[in-house]
Symmetry: C2
Subunit: 323 residues, 2 copies
Amino acid sequence: MQPDLSSLLQQALKELDYGQQPAALYDPIRYIMSLGGKRLRPLLTLMGAQLFTDELSSFVKPALATEVFHNFTLLHDDLMDQAPLRRGQLTVHEKWNPNVAILSGDVMLVRAYELLFENVSLPLLPQVLRRFSQTAAEVCEGQQWDMNFETETTITIPQYLDMIRLKTAVLLGFALELGALLADAPAADAEHLRQFGTDIGLAFQLRDDLLDVYGDAATFGKRVGGDIISDKKTFLLLTAQAQADAAQQATLARHLGQPVRDAEAKVQAVRSIYDELQIRPQTEALINDYFQAALLHLERLQVPAARKAPLRQLALQLLERES
Amino acid sequence: MQPDLSSLLQQALKELDYGQQPAALYDPIRYIMSLGGKRLRPLLTLMGAQLFTDELSSFVKPALATEVFHNFTLLHDDLMDQAPLRRGQLTVHEKWNPNVAILSGDVMLVRAYELLFENVSLPLLPQVLRRFSQTAAEVCEGQQWDMNFETETTITIPQYLDMIRLKTAVLLGFALELGALLADAPAADAEHLRQFGTDIGLAFQLRDDLLDVYGDAATFGKRVGGDIISDKKTFLLLTAQAQADAAQQATLARHLGQPVRDAEAKVQAVRSIYDELQIRPQTEALINDYFQAALLHLERLQVPAARKAPLRQLALQLLERES
C-alpha cells in the first residue's frame, strides 16, 4: 500500500519505550502493541502530511500517538465488551486480569500524549493537543453510546450514524488532520482532510456492518452473521426495523432478544427480511454517498492532484477489501 | 487553612465543564468531583506558586488538573479495589456500573490534560506536560505495585516505601512543583518544592498507616484496625514481621491469611505484637525523619522565610490531623 511509510512506522513502533517496572503494567502494553494490525491511523497521518511535504521523518513519532491511543481504546473496549480475543490472541484482561487491563490502558493514554508533546514543535502543540483531546473524548462518547444502545429499544438511524462517527470515524479523521497540522498546512486543508477521513471512516464502518451479513466467511475474519446472532443494532437492522411491514416485524420480533436456539436459522431468517427490504443496496448506496462526500473533500484540498492519488487509492482499498 | 485559596478553587471547580452527552459518561465525573475532599493538591499548587508571586488567578485552572487527575485515580482505583464507598457515598462503579467507571475515568484523564495545555503559557507547557505525564505514569506504577503486593509474600520495607512514594507521594510533590513551574521559578526551587511535597506525602501515608491501628475511632473516618483485619501489608506489619521472634511470628501467622472469625480479637492480637515490638515509636520516628527532610527542602528554597510559613503550617496540620 505504502511500503516505505509502513516499514518506517513498524521500525519506529518497535523502538518505542513504554516503561519497564512493574512488568504487570508495561508487559500488556508491549503485548497489545505487538498484535499487529494495519497501523492504519499513523499511516493516514503520514499520508496526510505527505500531501504537503516530503520531509516526514520528524512526523513518525507523533503519528504513532494515534496508534497507541487506538490500542488503548481496544484494550479498554475489549474489557468492557468482555471480548476473549483480539486479532486471534487473548485479550489483555483474559491473559492477565481486568485490573491490569484498566491500569495498563491508563498508562497508554499517558504515553499517547507524550508522543505528541515530546515530538511536535511548540507553535503547533496547542492545536494538536486540543484536537487530539477533543477526538479522544469523542471516541469515549461513541463507546458509551454504543453501550447505551445495547439496552435501548428505540434508536434512530441518525443516532446510530452519530455513534459510529464518534466511536470509529473521528479518529481516522483526526489521524489525517494531524498530518496536515504537523506539516503546518492551511487550516482549510486540515479541515478537508479531517472530513475526508471521517467520511471514509463512516463508509468503512457501514461496510463492516454489511460484510458481517453478506461477507465471504473465508476472508471476513469474523464469524459471518455474528451481528445478527448477537442482536447488534447495526445500520442494516435499524433500517429493516424502520421499513418492515407487520409480518416482517413479527418475524424480527420472534428472533430478536430471544435465546438463540439455532444460530444458522436466525441468520437466514433475518437475512431473508434484509433481502426482501433491499437493505443491501440501501446500505451500499449510503456507503457510496459517504465515499463520494469524502472524495469531494479530497478534491477541494489545495494541493496538486498527483499528490492526492495515494490517499484516493488507499480509500478505495479500504472500502473494497473484505476485512 | 487558606480560606481565600480554597474558596477560589471551590468556585473554579464548580465552573468546570466536563461535557454533557451521553449523560452516563459525564454525570459520573460531576458526581465524583462533587464528593468533596480537601482539594489538597490544587491548594498545594497555588501555595507553591505563592512562594514566588501574588498573582495566582491564572494558575487556578492548571492547578485543578491535579484534582481532576487525583479523582480519576480514585475512580479507577475504587473499581480495581472493588470499594463500595468513597467519602461515605457510593463509588461510581456501584452507583452506575464498572464499564461506566472505566470510561468516565478515561475522559477525566483527557480533561486533566486539557486543563493544563489550555491554561499554561506556551514556553512552560512542555516541561509542565512532561512532569505531569511522568507523575501520572508513576501513580499507575504505584497502584500496580500495591496490587502486586496483595499476593506477594516477601515485600521489603524499601519496596513498600517505594510503592507509597509512587502511589501517593509523587502527586503531592508534583502539585507543589507545578506551582513553581507556573510561577516560572528557578529549576532548583521547583525541585526542592517537589521533594518537600514527596517527603510530606510519605510522612502523610505512614501516618495514615499508623492511625489505622492507633487512631481515634471518632475522628479517623475509616474503621480503626481495618488494615489489620484485611491483612494489608503496611509499614507497621512489614516492620513487625521483620523484627518478630519465633513466638510472635507464630502468633502473626495464626492470624494472617486466615478467614477472620473474630475481627476484634485479631486486631488486639496483632496490635499487642506491635506494642511489644515498639512499632508505633519506630513508625513515628520514620514519619519525623520524612518531615524533617521535607523541612530541609523548604529551608533551601530561595525565597524569604515569611513566604514559606503557610506551607510549613500546612505540613504541620497535615501530619497532626486525625483524618
